[in-house]
Symmetry: C2
Subunit: 204 residues, 2 copies
């Protein structure tokens, strides 16, 4: 019996640097998980390759896949669909490999409903810590600026509540380091390890 | 307000290599946690230094500390007491630093009762995986040998149930790597991170 892989979902507010962190993770030689390539109806940009950067589909094809329940999550942005093909994710997990998704927060919410056992990582802007420093040390900011930042911070913190881990993207290397650590740690969780041994002993 | 440190407890069956792994962790330049030095009534061995290897105490002193509730955990082995002074642990955690304990399984049980929020790591012998391989691939072992090994494995797995993580000590460097990853990951847990931000925002 092969132990199922982990589904790792990296998400966070737009502009936080999810794509950059994801690329840096897959540039590391020791990364042992598989990247789930998204599907989109937007046109390929210069240099983008079908099956590497995205699976490029027509609108009709995409909508047919939605109807057939073939998408783990999807969303529409500025007139184009983006989504995650579910078959690849299930097959890879079943083969014992970890799968890595990098998606928007709405998509992460959809995945959580279908894969509650996934590993949900929120990439947080360092502005939260900066805000914390400013509040703690006080400063010369205007009341209005502080108030705006507090409001934005509150909204980001509320988004986090769906996630298992929060990784601050202060520097790309640090964020990668923490994400790798989280995956290593999750593979050592007692429930996961003893389940494997218990199944083995019972099968005798 | 300083965020409290994590209490990291490394334990496991005797002979598994807890001391070796602990020394290797504290030899790493990037280790950011504090080692809690144990107290003992046994005589110092050649080269051992009071306050570095152990705090050496007389039997009367040790028993007085037990009565005053000054020990987080203690046990008696071959006529000598061994224990963990509680004040150092509490003060270090309160100052925001992580504290690392390396103790026997009975001690870990006592600590779990007093610090249920601690991070309990079970160091497991690689024999469990070896056993798994032998069972899975079948082999030329006698029935009796397999039966004995299964019994020992079952006992080890039952011990694990108290712990949050299981780290296999296949190689010392691997075990250190996993323990460090677990500590990094735990610092990224959402409850811990959002609690910090929520407290900060509410205190305004």
């Amino acid at each position: 019996m092969v132990e199922k892989g982990l589904l790792i979902v990296l998400s966070g507010p737009s502009g936080v640097g999810k794509g950059t962190v994801r690329k840096a993770i897959f540039d590391r030689p020791d990364t042992a998980f598989e990247y789930s390539i998204s599907m989109t109806t937007r046109n390929p940009r210069e240099g983008e390759i079908h099956g590497v950067d995205y699976f490029f589909k027509s609108r009709d094809e995409f909508e047919a896949l939605i109807e057939q329940g073939k998408l783990l999550e999807y969303a529409e942005f500025v007139g184009n669909y983006y989504g995650t093909p579910v078959d690849y994710v299930r097959e890879t997990l079943d083969s014992g490999k970890d799968v890595f998704l990098e998606i928007e927060v709405q998509g992460a919410r959809q995945v959580r409903e279908k894969f509650p056992e996934g590993l949900f990582i929120f990439l947080a802007p360092p502005s939260l810590t900066e805000l914390e420093n400013r509040i703690t040390t006080r400063g010369t900011e205007t009341e209005e600026l502080i108030r705006q930042r507090m409001k934005a911070a509150k909204e980001e913190i509320e988004l986090m509540d769906l996630y298992d881990y929060v990784v601050e993207n202060d520097r790309v290397e640090n964020a990668c380091e923490r994400i790798n650590a989280i995956v290593i740690a999750e593979h050592c969780r007692r429930e996961r390890v003893t389940h494997r041994y218990k199944t083995m002993l019972e099968s005798e």
